[in-house]
């Protein structure tokens, strides 16, 4: 079962300086995520949810501690290697979609594939498949400004899954969406987890969104509360 461990964080600690103050964002976090889990991280603003996600994606580096993702100590990777690693293994979904406004939906989805050895035609086929999975086959040549918020987030999901990463990290993916669009996004994420075996780590404030996850973990003041803890007041 060792191979089923996709994330293992040990004594993960993150501090940063904000003006004159030293802020502790994460405090000695111990975390393990199994392959195929859909984990929601909840907690108040500033509790360290997003920081944890960024550390797992190697977007940020911890002050101390250790993170192994898919059996790899990502802190040992150099900048170029970590970029390649992230491209191959991590799909990231942002709250604000973060699509490139001058590129069409298809071009946005193709972006991660530019870093692979796929041919132009293969890239186009993969992008079309990913957009089909999120139900946007008819919006491939639309620019982000021509799409609704929900559609933009679906394009972002297509971009996150197009290179077939093992792990999808979603930072408040429904935070900027209306209830109906949010439900569509959560349905897609659940399907990706259930039908395609993607491991999903999702940060959310929304208890309704968190209910789609197979597990909910709470953070408070930078500390990851033990599994099974009730939602803090």
């Amino acid at each position: 079962m060792v191979n089923d461990l996709v994330v293992e964080a040990t004594d993960l600690h993150k501090e940063f300086q904000r003006d004159a103050f030293q802020v502790i964002a994460l405090q000695d976090v111990q975390l393990t995520i199994q392959r195929g889990e859909f984990v929601a991280f909840m907690g108040p603003s500033g509790s360290g949810k997003s920081t944890l996600l960024y550390l797992i994606a190697a977007i940020d580096r911890p002050t101390r501690g250790r993170v192994e993702v898919l059996g790899r100590d990502i802190l040992q990777l150099k900048e170029r290697a970590v970029a390649d690693w992230r491209n191959e293994n991590i799909g990231f979904i942002f709250q604000t979609f973060n699509l490139i406004p001058v590129l069409t939906a298809r071009e946005n989805v193709e972006l991660p594939l530019l870093l692979t050895h796929l041919s132009r035609q293969e890239r186009a086929e993969h992008a079309a498949t990913a957009l089909g999975l999120v139900g946007l086959s008819d919006r491939m040549d639309h620019y982000p400004r021509q799409l609704s918020g929900g559609q933009e987030q679906r394009v972002a999901i297509a971009r996150a899954i197009v290179s077939d990463p093992s792990i999808i990290l979603a930072d408040e993916p429904t935070g900027d969406l209306d209830a109906q669009s949010a439900q569509e996004i959560l349905t897609i994420l659940s399907r990706l987890n259930r039908d395609h075996g993607k491991t999903i780590l999702m940060v959310t404030h929304d208890p309704h969104a968190a209910r789609h996850a197979s597990k909910i973990r709470y953070l408070e003041k930078g500390q990851l509360l033990p599994e099974g803890s009730p939602q803090p007041e």
């Binding site: 960024y54 994606a57 977007i59 940020d60 900048e79 170029r80 970029a83 390649d84 992230r86 491209n87 191959e88 990231f92 942002f94 604000t96 973060n98 490139i100 406004p101 001058v102 590129l103 071009e107 972006l111 991660p112 530019l114 870093l115 971009r159």
Partner: protein, 387 residues
């Protein structure tokens, strides 16, 4: 792998106004540089193409131009008898000449400009075998007739065939227009030697003597013989070298033009830099996203440098288009050696255009490098958090 070029192109087209304004700034700088280079190129072409490789221009020692040179008729006789001179129908190819300056009103400048008048014999005309009459006929010896260069004919008042020019002791009939193949002779008025000598009261003292040597070795020998003849106090200069030296008259203009262009280029660099800094600031989150997707800092740097280069190439293109109407335009510049105006055509050669585009690229590269470096070095997290 770099970001696709379409990404850069689309980003430039999205912010049309900024792109056009910056490109226009770069374009104006390139236009100034190209305009100056086209002027200098035209003048150089005009002067460098003048002269025959076997011609020796004999002038008084240390004279910088024919205008200030003095050669006596006695010296001319002595030169005729030197060995190594090519013969034409039994006659030595030697042309004593008088060069003087008059002021003529131009079409766009009533106060006028100085023009060279060259008095020469029929042999002098025959020695310039690469020129032809565009219109009319040659002047008749003993008549107050002139043939004008085509640049004079186009740019000066009353300088067409059938017109009359007033200088010296009276009126002169324009009987022909000379095409000297865009050389310096296109900017001269030619008259009969003796007629001009009489009119300017220079019967004994001429300006120069043009001599054609039999071959390059004879040319060198003639040059040495003249230098060694202390009695004559003359020196022979290769005709092509004489006109080549006159290109120095364009040096101050060239220096000033390049100086202005460089100052403008510094401004344009800052404009490009400002545009690219604004682009980096506006697209900070986009940069962060691209980094999260796996694009390296190097790819981001390259993308912004390419974008800046595209911007500057657009500027270069605008610059070329702005200056293109100048190509072939006739103009003139004061020559500080002959105290007269030398006509020339603005020449925008492919090399000059390439230089302008290269100049624009350098501006783009310098302007884009620092903002691109900033974009590439910004941490992913702080880029993502920028609003």
């Amino acid at each position: 792998m770099p970001l696709p070029l379409s990404y850069n192109l689309k980003n430039l087209t999205v912010r049309k106004t900024t792109t056009v304004m910056t490109a226009l700034g770069i374009g104006l700088t390139v236009a100034v540089l190209l305009g100056i280079l086209a002027l200098v190129g035209g003048l150089e072409k005009s002067l460098q193409a003048t002269g025959h490789p076997l011609h020796l221009l004999v002038m008084r020692k240390n004279s910088l131009s024919e205008l200030v040179s003095q050669v006596t008729r006695e010296a001319v006789s002595s030169i005729r008898n030197k060995p190594g001179i090519q013969q034409l129908e039994g006659e030595p190819m030697v042309s004593p000449e008088i060069v003087t300056v008059i002021n003529l009103p131009r079409h766009n400048s009533p106060e006028g400009a100085n023009v060279n008048i060259r008095g020469l014999s029929p042999m002098g005309i025959r020695m310039r075998s690469n020129l032809k009459l565009m219109e009319g006929r040659w002047f008749q010896p003993g008549q107050r007739e002139v043939v004008v260069g085509k640049s004079i004919s186009r740019r000066y008042v009353n300088a067409g065939v059938g017109d009359r020019l007033r200088f010296g002791r009276g009126d002169w009939s324009v009987v022909g227009v000379l095409d000297a193949g865009s050389t310096a002779f296109d900017s001269e008025i030619w008259v009969g030697l003796n007629q001009l000598a009489t009119d300017s009261n220079r019967m004994e003292v001429l300006s120069s003597v043009l001599v054609r040597a039999s071959d390059p070795v004879s040319l060198q020998a003639l040059q040495n013989a003249l230098a060694d003849d202390q009695r004559l106090y003359l020196e022979g200069k290769r005709e092509v070298d004489y006109y080549q030296e006159q290109t120095a008259s364009a040096e101050p203009v060239k220096f000033l033009g390049i100086f202005v262009a460089v100052i403008m280029a510094v401004g344009s660099c800052f404009a490009a830099m400002n545009t690219m800094y604004a682009a980096v600031a506006r697209r900070s989150r986009e940069i962060g996203t691209l980094r999260v997707l796996g694009f390296s800092g190097g790819s981001i740097l390259l993308a912004f440098v390419i974008e800046s280069l595209l911007l500057s190439l657009l500027g270069g293109l605008i610059g070329v288009l702005l200056v293109l109407p100048l190509h072939g335009l006739e103009s003139g510049i004061g020559n500080n050696l002959t105290f007269s105006e030398t006509g020339f055509d603005f020449r925008l050669s492919p090399a000059i255009v390439a230089l302008g585009v290269g100049f624009a690229s350098i501006m783009g590269l310098l302007g884009g490098l620092l903002p691109a470096r900033g974009a590439a070095r910004e941490s992913i997290l702080s880029a993502l958090r920028e609003l």
